[in-house]
Amino acid sequence: MTTDIERVTGTALDRVEGRDKVTGLARYAYEYPADDIAYVVPVPAAIARGTITGIDPGDALAVPGVLTVLSFRNAPPLAGNDPELRIFSSDRVSYRGQMVAAVVADTLEAAAEAARLVHVGYDAEPHDVLLRPDHPEAYVPEKVNPSFPAVSEQGDVEAALGDAAVTVDTTYTTPAYHNNAMEPHATLAVWSGDRLTAYDSNQGSSTARDMLAAAFGLEPGQVRVVSPHVGGGFGSKGTPRPQIVLAALAARAVGRPAKVALTRQHMFAVTGYRTPSIQRVRLGADASGRMTALAHEVEEQTSTLKEFAEQTAVPSRMMYAAPNRLTTHRVVALDVATPSWMRAPGECPGMYALESAMDELAVACGLDPIELRVRNEPEEDPESGLPWSSRNVVACLREGAAWFGWAGRDPAPGVRRDGRWLVGTGVAASTYPARRRPSEATARATADGRFTVRIAAADIGTGSRTALTQIAADALGVPPERVDVRIGDSALPTASLAGGSMGTASWGSAVAMACVRLRERLDGAGGEVPEDGIEARYDTADDIKADAAYARHAFGAQFAEVRVDPGTGEIRVPRLLGVFAAGRIINAKTARSQFIGGMTMGLAMALLEESVPDAEFGGFLNHDLAQYHVPANADVANIDARWIEEDDPHLNPMGSKGIGEIGIVGTAAAIGNAVHHATGVRFRDLPIRPDRVLDRAPQIGGRNL
């Protein structure tokens, strides 16, 4: 293993593709050149549930430049096991915005015009798109994502709650959230005979290739997916989305390269979203704050097309010690698009509820919220009994408290005023699993003294290309300038996708070991690189199978200061500090950006973002960036991320834990807890909008007008 050399790992290397990105030369999917490209614009369903009774493409076809109109009437059947991707396969409409047709034309202008002229007749059926408490159709799924049991029980929660000296019984709700990567989902598809190349915006080119091959009945070797630069994903480009299939269908139909970029509005329908959730949390503790019972019961939604059951209560299975424990998930299949992955699925919404409830318990116990968490620190994973590979949540809380200036905090809520602002502070813990998946990589030395590393990894903005360059440089014992990392292409050695904060751990393992092998070969060759180069390959599948049994998680602590104007309902977050323990940090610069980016999304989760379902017509109402408020620059003030170096030998060759998701975990709870500290009012429904503050303003102490 590679632990002994002067390391670039851990340093703040600039992004290796930085120059391409600031000069506009970095190409994203829609931007690849090809001869005679046709433009594709999909037609979204205008009902939430029902049957298509007719598709009249006449007016659309009459638009000059229109080549064809695709729909279930003429599109070839697609294979594959994801009903969201088998577009145009039937006359059924399962949610508003589902693709029911598409126009292919010579120009974007013609395709967009004609798409509105495709007349689709519907036989609409009554629909239900609203998740609500105790929905009559709620059921317990067989498992929650990715493969956890839906229900877990230890001890006797009801009895323990009955006996507890202090209890908290609260319900929190989170709305639907959309990933809203800046780059819309886009694909340029080029057929050459029965071979297909897709320039596509995704989080894993190997995964996208396998899906495309399955959809079109091809061998994986007949398909190539190229995605060197991806304009963000946050989960929404992990599972391939319908635009990649549509582009390929269209290109084959017209015998030309064809490309599609979803409109921002249409992204709200067909690119996935985080399910809304209704979460009841019950905590019981003895007089000293030691928890005796923890119950976390979740209701959330899925679609009629397929089951997607977010693992929202799963973090409550491992976060704190409590001898009696119950976690449950129920889902409701609504007439909606299937929910999908969004940054820290499970942990993000689940820890919002758990960490808010912990704050309520601290108040009920009269304990400092940090101290409460320290008292409930589990020595081993409470559910599995496995030892922690490393667990430094207490260190994060303690160090963070020192950096943030937590000491001496007056716990009394609603008493600090600075002009028109009520001021408060809050804290919450974070966690996210540290996993890795099998991947392959090659490392090659060439006679010019350079090294090329190949792996079908993805850099969706995470900095993975840069991190892998550092990992390879260290493993090879050369400066990073001599290493070229090639990623984002399914023609490269197969890799897992960028998701679950597993990317760098998975790919880095393969890259590090391929480089170690290459070094051994080079040593074997006496250090001389032959004329035609020398290469080594490594597949981590066996290593990962042999990984020892540990509970592997990253941890963190989030601290927020908020200001609430009870007269206007405005909330500002002047300070946000995240402290994380995530193994070894590979790149100090890009890691900080990842943490801060996650925290920023968490800030917005608390205060700004929500996708509002349209009960009457289906779909989401606020389907653009003027109505769905991702944070603007002015929303983010003093935000900082720090970390505690961990030396965890049970992870991977780098000793790293993933960092892409933990930043969003706990942020919303810290902010909500700070809002309570500021106002004395507990807001349990996100986001904490001005109107919600104003509606409860009479309960807020110290209101001056």
């Binding site: 600039d14 992004r15 593709e17 930085g18 120059r19 391409d20 990105k21 600031v22 000069t23 506009g24 030369l25 970095a26 994203y28 829609y30 931007e31 050149p33 007016d59 009459a62 000059p64 120009t107 974007l108 202008e109 013609a110 015009e113 809203n180 990567a181 800046m182 780059e183 819309p184 630069h229 991806v230 304009g231 963000g232 946050f234 970029a261 409109t263 921002r264 969706i460 903005g461 995470t462 900095g463 610069k589 890009t590 900080r592 950006s593 990842q594 801060i596 980016g597 925290m599 999304m601 653009d624 960036l625 003027a626 944070p631 603007a632 620059n633 002015a634 983010v636 003030a637 935000i639």
Partner: protein
């Protein structure tokens, strides 16, 4: 102004499809004069990206809600997605590709790399063009919504000012603090 004869402009097109109206436009893009015939409906953004091969300016929303398409039009930052290409006849457009002086990066480009002011990079060209335009506005003494005294014709570009003035450029990766730092460094 060449006014069409009665009845040809609208009604006819709605009953029978006909080729879209196209117009000759002469526009300077990054210093090069382009003469092109554009579909009247085409945005400046689509003409840059699909016709001129300048894919630096990005399409994030196509409705002026994200700023990824920001370019400089006659020296002012604008959203290229909301500007019909047919209206920019005789104008000067600078895109992110035009910020570089030969191989030398614009100071903002260098600062963005140094400060890690981007992650996925998709909003970055718009952020950079916006920052160039914003600094020019500030240099002219223009106020912002957070300028305490609107009569002050020399507002200081502190962090709050930069944040407010750059709020027309959304960054979903959350690189805002680094964007502010990079711009602040160049603003001096």
């Amino acid at each position: 102004m060449d006014v069409p004869s009665k009845g040809t402009a609208g009604g006819a097109q709605r009953t029978a499809a006909r080729p879209p109206a196209r117009t000759d436009v002469t526009v300077s893009v990054n210093g090069a004069v382009e003469r092109i015939k554009v579909d009247n409906r085409a945005s400046l953004l689509d003409v840059l990206r699909e016709r001129l091969g300048l894919t630096g300016a990005k399409k994030g929303c196509d409705h002026g809600q994200c700023g990824a398409c920001t370019v400089l039009l006659d020296g002012r930052r604008v959203n290229a997605c909301l500007i019909l290409a047919v209206t920019v006849d005789q104008a000067e457009v600078v895109t992110v590709e035009g910020l570089t002086d030969g191989t030398r990066l614009h100071p903002l480009q260098a600062a963005f790399i140094e400060r890690d002011a981007f992650q996925c990079g998709y909003c970055t060209p718009g952020q950079l063009c916006s920052a160039v335009g914003m600094l020019a506005e500030a240099a002219k003494g223009r106020a912002s919504a957070v300028t305490a005294d609107l009569a002050d014709d020399a507002p200081v570009l502190d962090e709050a000012e930069i944040r407010e003035r750059m709020s027309g450029n959304l960054c979903r990766c959350g690189a805002y603090p680094n964007i502010v730092a990079a711009i602040g460094e160049v603003a001096g």
